[in-house]
């Protein structure tokens, strides 16, 4: 179990930095068309912010903020958004993930519909990546402490 660090400098710095890191991660997700980024990169940066919080403030305080149940819901809803948009295009008489058929719902021309479709998928991917990376880190840190307890 990762204990709470008793060093005041990194606790204060992590507390101040985490909102800015998260808004930077959302910027990277949303601007995937124009600059390097996209869904996977933004999800990794979001997970990095949560790992920073976990390293400095300990596992218990981070779990008060985002519980394991919320992480599981995030990962599932990320995949749901991805598959949901694909099936929506299928329902509207197109191929799977053929975003130009979304133009009927959104009332824009097919080029813009493709742009919005990809944006939606990137958001789903970002959520799923963040949830999975956070839970992997959490499980490894838990498993290590229980393993050493069994040794002792």
């Amino acid at each position: 179990m990762i204990q709470k660090s008793d060093d005041i400098i990194i606790k204060t710095l992590a507390r101040i930095l985490v909102p800015f890191i998260q808004i930077y991660a959302l910027y990277v997700i949303m601007h995937g068309h124009y600059s390097p980024g996209g869904g996977f990169q933004g999800g990794v940066i979001l997970a990095a912010s949560l790992i920073l919080l976990m390293i400095t403030h300990g596992v218990k305080d981070t779990q008060k903020r985002i519980s394991e149940k919320a992480v599981a819901i995030f990962s599932s809803s990320g995949v749901l958004i991805y598959a949901g948009i694909g099936v929506l295009c299928l329902v509207l008489f197109g191929n799977f993930l053929d975003y130009s058929t979304l133009a009927k719902i959104l009332h824009v021309d097919p080029a813009h519909a493709r742009s919005y479709g990809i944006l939606g998928i990137e958001i789903g991917v970002g959520l799923a990546v963040m949830a999975v990376m956070f839970s992997v880190f959490f499980d490894i840190s838990q498993g290590e402490s229980s393993g050493e307890d069994k040794e002792n």
């Binding site: 101040i16 910027y27 903020r65």
Partner: protein, 240 residues
Amino acid sequence: MEVTLLIEAMDTSFRLMEDARRQAVDLLNTAVKLTSETRTVEEKNIQAIFTGAQESKSGFQNLVVTFLMLFAFWVLLSGKYDLFHLALGVICSLLIAYLTHDLLFANVRVGDARVIAWRFFAYIPWLLYQIITANIYVASVVLGPKQRVKPQIIRFKTKLESDISWVTLANSITLTPGTITMDIRDGEFFVHALDKKVADDLNAGEMEDRIAHVYMEADHIYVQDALDVAPIFGELKKGL
């Protein structure tokens, strides 16, 4: 100076009035047994007015200020100012401000925040000037003969009180070449310095004074204290 005296006078007068009120309430409580329940309920109301004025109900204001800062950061990062991207920015900033608004401003009272921000931006050019002069001195020491480098560790206690000012002082010491903050333990700073001149510059304490001025610990009034006290003046008069 006069304001300090005024605030101290107000403080003593509040204490006197509170003592008098407490004694009066005690007398009433012991004298009347039948209505004792309603008396303690009234005393709880007056107590709630005192404590309610002192905790700043700044949850909502924290949210708004965090939202504005995050949205300004978004606009700075993204070069596109059309409606779609700005709307996306508003939604994302709102979401993150709602999730993390108690992280950013945990200890600062809201009435002070504007003054502190302005003084902080005035402190940064002085820090840059110190970095440049210390840089030149450390370069001259390091490129010279080896005997000029005499590393030493200094311990000192500061007069600063809140954790943000400690962190600002530690970071400023580390940013200035020649000194590195190693640890802060029980309120004592452990600093590793390269040379005696750099250590003397640190012990003179000018950086501490400037940081105390930035975070309003050298002044004798706090803006938020005056704002807290003002509305309960009337209640005090009514409750006595």
